[in-house]
């Protein structure tokens, strides 16, 4: 069987590498505008229309073959040899023609390492706008490799590139030498290579319009460095930055921008989330009515349908979050935001690039943890993952809403908004403190060396490509569903079994009750006798110091499937039978609830405030733990997160409840 040739696509960040990969593979990937964003590599066959039998790999963006982080090390090493794919037959290196000097460093290193290379020059249109062009024939002669210009947007030059790839695949394979990497690390080598590249660039960059050739020649004599008018950054970008990166207004604009994103995650998504919620409630009650009152009906309606609903309810928020962040990234603002916030975040051991993941954490910790891949420093990345569960994700919102509604007098509903904002403020402050403390114990907790750095290219501003941003938002949301969906669903089923089995419903007086009320009461009796209730009774000694009893304990356990399940499980356990307005009847039930052993009221101001604090801290989300395990590579960090956050939650709640009680707030 003939071996399928392997082509590796390599290039600096923002060199159009991923766009090229999308053209070849027909797969729709992200066009990155944020240096260092493609951390995983992608693999694909060429589309049939190109008629090339070869596998193409898209590796992460590289500035040089000198790895600067563990992720880069993996990317560089896999160029030389990949266990699954072997040595690449050919490497396609992309370089931004308007940044040709900086981007040729990688090309030169790859050629010198002994690879067979085809250079693909992109963004030639930007260079042309500066009245310049690249003499590709001359460049090809100097470098000794084939050079092709491609406009990735119009696909101009792709046919040419395909022809060159075919030609190069027919010849001898690459014979890379890994040892050459040591040489590339020398400062003298780097500076010398840059000098060589500058000489090459001076030869191959030519005026587009021969009329101004003379003027350019004169300039050339005066100052050879000015020859390359690619030296000037985009004028419009500089103008916009004068406003958006203004020393003072720049930061105010940033804060307003982030505030707007933050609120829109909630306000824009709210009606859609309600829609998903209503849809699944209707579906669940339809299923339970059609299938009758039996165990499989319950499994389908309360287990499977509600479980799926628990996954999908966050979809609108995640979609909106990705959409807004995608737009900001595509315009070029996101990199600037990371720069603006880097200083304060570096004080607590984080990085400017930690900011977006932290913001995403307010919607859902799972996409937030996935998005930490843009942080190249491993310690900062792990620390960011560590504190993300402290961002009050939207699953906690229904719990806060219920407890706050319980706390405030019904004639002063406006107070609720204030308390809610206060809760978010507290959670932000607490996460800052925790990051600071964890960072102090870096050696024993995170176990990574502190070699923090922040080098970020600020991309040229441009209009976002809405089609690309929309597609990426859908891709990312799909990834959330595929990653988190199965975990949440399986857990929901486990929790459902715990609250349903052993399906023990004692007889009770049914006189004068409607059919619906009987079904609800049966459910309530079943949960009171369930395994979950047994676990709840078992942990009652732990709940007692908090002024709470087994019923809240069961709801807290159920909340491990998804935090908002706390509310529905409270409704079950407090035997709320009114389907029309669960919250009002649940609040009444909570007002009347007594601690069974002592007869004291169960929900006091103290215990409710305590519970809010419990939810701010506690890591009650198994999906988060699973994703944290996957992204950090071991169980150490997720277990530390679970133990530290949940025990802190307990201790904090204990202190707050008893402090409030002792000063007479009850």
């Amino acid at each position: 069987m003939p071996e399928i040739p392997l082509i590796n696509l390599v290039g600096p960040p923002n060199s159009g590498k991923t766009t090229l990969f999308n053209i070849f593979s027909g797969k729709h990937f992200k066009t990155v505008n944020y240096p260092g964003s493609t951390v995983e590599y992608s693999s694909s066959d060429f589309l049939d229309k190109f008629n090339i039998k070869a596998k193409i790999l898209d590796s992460p963006g590289l500035i040089s073959l000198n790895a600067n982080s563990p992720d880069e090390e993996v990317a560089v090493e896999s160029l030389f040899y990949q266990p699954n794919n072997g040595i690449p037959n050919l490497i396609l290196v992309t370089a931004d023609a308007s940044q040709i000097t900086r981007h040729l460093l990688l090309t030169k290193q790859i050629i010198e390492a002994g690879f067979k290379v085809v250079l693909v020059l992109t963004m030639i249109d930007i260079l042309n706008r500066k009245n310049l062009k690249v003499n590709t024939k001359l460049l090809s002669e100097i470098l000794g490799i084939d050079v092709v210009t491609v406009n990735a947007r119009t696909e101009e030059g792709i046919d040419d590139l395909i022809r060159v790839i075919k030609k190069n695949l027919s010849g001898a394979k690459s014979t890379p030498e890994y040892q050459r990497l040591n040489e590339f690390k020398e400062k003298e080598y780097l500076i010398k290579t840059y000098e060589d590249i500058e000489k090459i660039v001076n030869q191959v960059i030519e005026p587009l319009n021969p009329d101004i050739q003379n003027a350019n020649r004169q300039l050339n004599i005066l100052n050879p460095l000015l020859r390359e008018s690619t030296q000037k950054p985009d004028a419009l970008t500089l103008k916009i930055d004068k406003i958006l990166l203004h020393k003072y207004f720049g930061f105010i604009f940033f804060l307003i921008m982030m505030g707007a994103i933050f609120t829109s995650i909630f306000w824009l998504a709210a009606p859609l989330m309600d829609l998903v919620d209503t849809l699944f409630s209707i579906l669940a009650s339809y299923a339970s009515e059609t299938l009758g009152n039996n165990w499989y009906s319950d499994l389908i309606s309360d287990g499977i349908i509600s479980g799926t609903g628990a996954v999908l309810i966050f979809l609108p928020q995640i979609l909106i979050l990705f959409l807004i962040l995608g737009l900001l990234e595509d315009t070029g603002y996101l990199a600037r935001g990371a720069m603006l916030i880097d200083k304060p975040l570096s004080k607590i051991g984080l990085n400017g690039k930690s900011f977006v993941p932290m913001l995403s954490g307010f919607a859902c910790a799972i996409p937030a943890i996935l998005s930490t891949r843009t942080i190249s420093n491993r310690r900062e990345r792990l620390l960011t993952i560590f504190i993300i569960p402290l961002m009050s994700c939207s699953a906690r919102l229904p719990v806060y809403v219920l407890l706050i509604a319980y706390l405030i007098p019904s004639d002063r509903p406006w107070l609720g908004g204030f308390i809610l904002s206060f809760v978010y403020l507290v959670s932000i402050i607490l996460s800052v403190i925790v990051a600071y403390v964890i960072n102090k114990f870096n050696k024993s907790l995170i176990k990574e060396k502190d070699d923090s750095s922040f080098i970020l290219e600020l991309p040229t501003y441009k209009l976002p490509k809405l089609r690309v941003v929309l597609r990426n938002s859908f891709e990312n949301s799909k990834e959330y569903i595929l990653r988190a969906g199965p975990i949440i669903l399986v857990l929901s089923l486990i929790i459902w079994s715990l609250t349903y089995l052993p399906n023990n419903v004692p007889d009770f007086d049914k006189t004068g009750l409607t059919e619906d009320e009987i079904v609800q009461l049966e459910k309530a009796e079943r949960i009171s006798n369930s395994y979950a209730a047994k676990i709840g009774t078992f942990i009652e000694p732990i709940m007692h110091p908090l002024g709470l009893d087994w019923r809240v304990g069961v709801s807290l356990i159920a909340a491990f499937a998804a935090r908002e399940v706390f509310v529905s499980s409270m409704a079950l356990i407090f035997k709320v039978t009114d389907d029309e307005n669960i919250q009002t009847s649940l609040l009444t039930a909570m007002r009347n609830a007594k601690v069974e052993s002592t007869g004291e009221p169960l929900f006091t101001k103290a215990t409710s405030i305590g519970l809010i604090f419990f939810f701010i801290f506690a890591l009650q989300c198994i999906s988060t733990l699973a994703v944290s395990r996957k992204e950090t590579g071991s169980w150490r960090i997720p277990i530390l997160q679970l133990v530290i956050f949940t025990s802190t939650a307990y201790v904090f709640t204990f202190i707050i409840v008893n402090l409030l009680k002792s000063i007479g707030i009850n």
């Binding site: 780097l190 460095l225 390359e228 930055d241 200083k343 304060p344 080098i455 600020l458």
Partner: protein, 73 residues
């Protein structure tokens, strides 16, 4: 001996050398800060850190302690 971190807002300078003060000095060279290049400080942000330099037709943000590695003429 003037460092890039000591440039005033809008001020230009020619790089003389990159010193090994910060572990990331190699990356600083690789991204294009090489002797002979002209750089300009174009943004300082409210905290005076990181600093944004215009270099080789692009904008690069660096932390102040990294810009300390860049020695100017």
């Amino acid at each position: 001996m003037k460092k890039a971190s000591e440039l005033n807002f809008g001020e230009k300078g020619i790089i003389k050398d990159i010193i090994t003060l910060n572990p990331s000095y190699k990356r600083i060279i690789e991204i294009g800060f090489t002797p002979g290049q002209e750089i300009q400080l174009v943004n300082t942000s409210i905290f005076n850190d990181p600093l944004t330099f215009s270099l080789r037709g692009t904008l690069i943000a660096l932390r102040k302690n990294q810009a300390d590695c860049i020695i100017l003429n």
